[in-house]
């Protein structure tokens, strides 16, 4: 077993990592405590390798790990200090200073969306008595009042999207047609002394597609982005394997915030996780970042990529082209939803949009709920 002093250092180190959002569990600490006595504690590199291995630090966390490790090592070098500050519990608020929800024009509502959306809000005279759904479905988002938005979010929740239409490679038991499942056939034949009266069969399961959603949250999308996020949450509920990213000048992975346990997450909290909300746009750079860091884990031949953006890019079109080509090559289908397309006068002439179009399988409007519902068909097709 290792000495208490070292153990305290280790616990402090793990705590510091956790405080900086590196996922380190108790079992990882136990592994590290087992590993440390096996290595040369005076060899900085070796201790570093061992800790990295035992605590299962992924490459994307290496930088944070190295910073914290340097701190740990410096403190170990100075044994004069009896109680290192590291052994204290990490300061409570360690997340990068909680950003205040940024004000967004036209969206004073802070009502949570998701499971506990304000369904019970009593409709007043304007809405009672007839179904405004049809009209509401066609109303462009940028003309919606906050009340309309809440209503739309309620509609979205009821949206039953059937996305599971793809045969997977996995075989599951079926009746009737399919390949013979010897294991199950044999077991049932035992009852009849090995006369195979009925053959059990297996066939390919039907699976929902893997979705990758890239949502533009820049200033030019302000009127739409709130609703897009609501749509994304609705999709996330029906398709489990969904990765969500937001981008404006940089790319932010939102998937961890949409985990199944986190019901009732508000759009405002989501928005506060995205740096530079309502800021400028660098679509090309953002998508290039996606290709560089997430493409391999998020994209495969099953994945459908949905990009929600108006294509108003201020960056270099060449960067966008390269990123779109990489995405197109790996994904099953690329869908670009453009809220401006709802406007009959619009032509996709914006430089970014023009550059991206050759790599888009479906280019569709997304200015009202009706158009979004049509998207579900494209995803499942």
């Amino acid at each position: 077993m290792i000495e208490g002093d070292l153990l305290a250092h280790l616990a402090g180190f793990a705590g510091a990592l956790r405080a900086r959002r590196v996922r380190v569990g108790l079992s990882d600490e136990v592994d590290a405590a087992t590993a440390l006595p096996l290595v040369d504690l005076l060899d900085r590199d070796e201790v570093r390798s061992a800790l990295r291995t035992a605590l299962k630090i992924r490459p994307r966390d290496w930088q944070v790990f190295d910073e914290e490790f340097r701190r740990l090592w410096v403190e170990r070098e100075a044994p004069a200090r009896p109680a290192p500050p590291l052994s204290q519990p990490p300061p409570p608020s360690t997340n990068p200073a909680p950003r205040a929800p940024l004000p967004r024009a036209g969206n004073p509502s802070t009502a949570p969306i998701g499971v506990d959306a304000p369904v019970s809000e009593s409709p007043d005279g304007e809405h009672a008595g007839y179904s405004p759904d049809v009209l509401l479905r066609r109303k462009p988002f940028d003309q919606c009042t906050p009340r309309d938005l809440a209503e739309l979010e309620r509609l979205l929740e009821r949206l039953k999207l059937n996305l599971a239409t793809r045969p997977s490679r996995r075989l599951v038991p079926v009746r009737g047609r399919g390949i013979v499942d010897m294991r199950r056939s044999f077991r049932s034949a035992i009852a009849t002394r090995c006369d195979f009266l009925l053959l059990a069969r297996r066939a390919r399961a039907v699976e929902e597609p893997k979705l990758v959603l890239l949502c533009d949250t820049s200033g030019s999308m302000d009127a739409h982005s709130r609703f897009f996020l609501a749509f994304i949450l609705a999709l996330k509920r029906v398709a489990r394997r969904t990765e969500v990213f937001a981008f404006n000048t940089t790319l932010t992975r939102l998937t961890p915030w949409l985990a199944p346990g986190k019901i009732g997450i508000t759009l405002d909290r989501l928005a506060s996780e995205v740096p530079d909300w309502s800021g400028g746009t660098r679509i090309g750079e953002s998508l290039a970042e996606f290709v560089l860091h997430y493409q391999r884990s998020a994209l495969d031949s099953d994945a459908v990529v949905v990009i929600l953006s108006d294509g108003l890019d201020r960056g270099d079109p060449e960067v966008l082209v390269r990123a779109m080509r990489a995405i197109h090559a790996r994904a099953r289908r690329v869908i670009w939803l453009n809220p401006l397309l709802g406007d009959a006068r619009y032509q996709p002439l914006a430089r970014g949009m023009e550059a991206a179009l050759p790599f888009v399988d479906f280019f569709a409007a997304a200015h009202n709920l009706e158009s979004l519902e049509a998207v579900a068909g494209m995803i499942a097709a």
Binding site: R23, G25, S27, D28, D31, T34, A35, L38, V39, D40, D43, D45, E46, R48, S49, A50, R52, T53, A54, L55, K56, I57, R58, P59, S168, R169, R170, L171, M182, R183, F186, I190, R193, C194, R296, S297, D300, R322, R325, A326, A329
Partner: protein, 298 residues
């Protein structure tokens, strides 16, 4: 450096694997702590090779399970030999044997086909090295099942009962990162990420594995490969590709790089259409010049 880790590093080198300090440390820890080692990294950096080298070093059998989408328990763990069972039953029918005895007979180890996972835990001689390759290709359901096997090293077969590991195998899992590995499985393992090798390491890998290559050529090949990796390519060449290239150049009896031969053989190294397009004669010339130039200085 810990002596045992140095020994591990030298041992791996003797068996044809040039390991950095961090790799040797991870392998040593996995061996001592008897925990599975999960290795991630780009294609062609030598993940699978670690499993093979471990088996060679320990002088034991390498049992390999290649994962793919749709891999199920029947292929990974065990399967009954149905054809043989049916044949046996039909023959036994004539003798009018007792049904219970007959059942015990056909559900015995003789009729069991051992697949890699079961084989790894029932191997009687000594612990085997179990290499579970490209675990990211299997579905998450299989990952959950694997978790169970890796934590208890025992397998329950309804007809036979629970089979416990005779020797707990050394387990190496590799992942190409095409899918995020679940946290639960990650926690069960030790973790190693292998990056592309440094220049010095790459030279020594080439010279060890392709001894016919001259010192100058090895130097230039490694420098060229390093230059190539610094560019933004869709498919970054790994050491496996560099080695292929070195072998190709040996076959062409070259002892240095020039633009013509590089252009002719670039397909060994760059395996993407757009990357190849991007590497026109002028780009190649620049990289070749850089590779030869610095080689001349050192």
């Amino acid at each position: 450096m810990n002596d045992a880790i140095r020994e591990m590093q030298e041992g791996m080198e003797r068996h044809g694997y040039i390991a950095e300090h961090s790799i040797a440390t991870a392998v040593y820890l996995a061996k001592e702590m008897r925990k599975p080692l999960l290795i991630e990294g780009d294609a062609g950096v030598g993940k699978t090779e670690i499993g093979k080298v471990m088996a060679r070093m320990l002088g034991t059998e390498l049992i390999r399970l290649q994962c793919y989408q749709g891999l199920d328990v029947n292929t990974a763990l065990y399967e009954w030999n149905y054809q043989r069972q049916i044949l046996h039953l039909k023959i036994a029918e004539r003798d009018g044997k007792d049904p219970a005895a007959l059942e015990a007979e056909i559900f015995s180890r003789d009729f069991l086909l051992e697949r890699p996972l079961l084989r790894a835990i029932t191997r009687a001689e000594a612990p085997a090295v179990l290499l579970i390759d490209e675990i990211d290709r299997a579905d998450d359901g299989f990952e959950a099942f694997l978790l169970e096997v890796l934590s208890d090293f025992q397998v329950t077969i309804p007809e036979l009962g629970t089979i416990r590991a005779v020797h707990q195998p050394y387990v190496v899992l590799t992942s190409n990162n095409s899918r995020e590995i679940g946290d639960a499985l990650r926690r069960r393992c030790l973790y190693l990420y292998i990056d592309h090798p440094s220049f010095e390491k790459e030279v020594s890998i080439i010279r060890t594995l392709v001894p016919e290559v001259s010192e100058q050529l090895a130097d230039q090949i490694a420098r060229f490969a390093q230059g190539l990796r610094a560019r933004r390519l869709a498919k970054v060449p790994g050491v496996a590709e560099t080695l292929d290239w070195a072998r190709a150049l040996v076959h062409l009896h070259r002892d240095h790089l020039d633009v013509d031969v590089v252009q002719a053989t670039l397909g060994c190294l760059v395996k993407d259409h757009h990357d190849l397009d991007a590497m026109g004669p002028s780009e190649t010339a620049a990289l070749v010049a850089a590779a030869r130039d610095t080689a001349g200085v050192s």
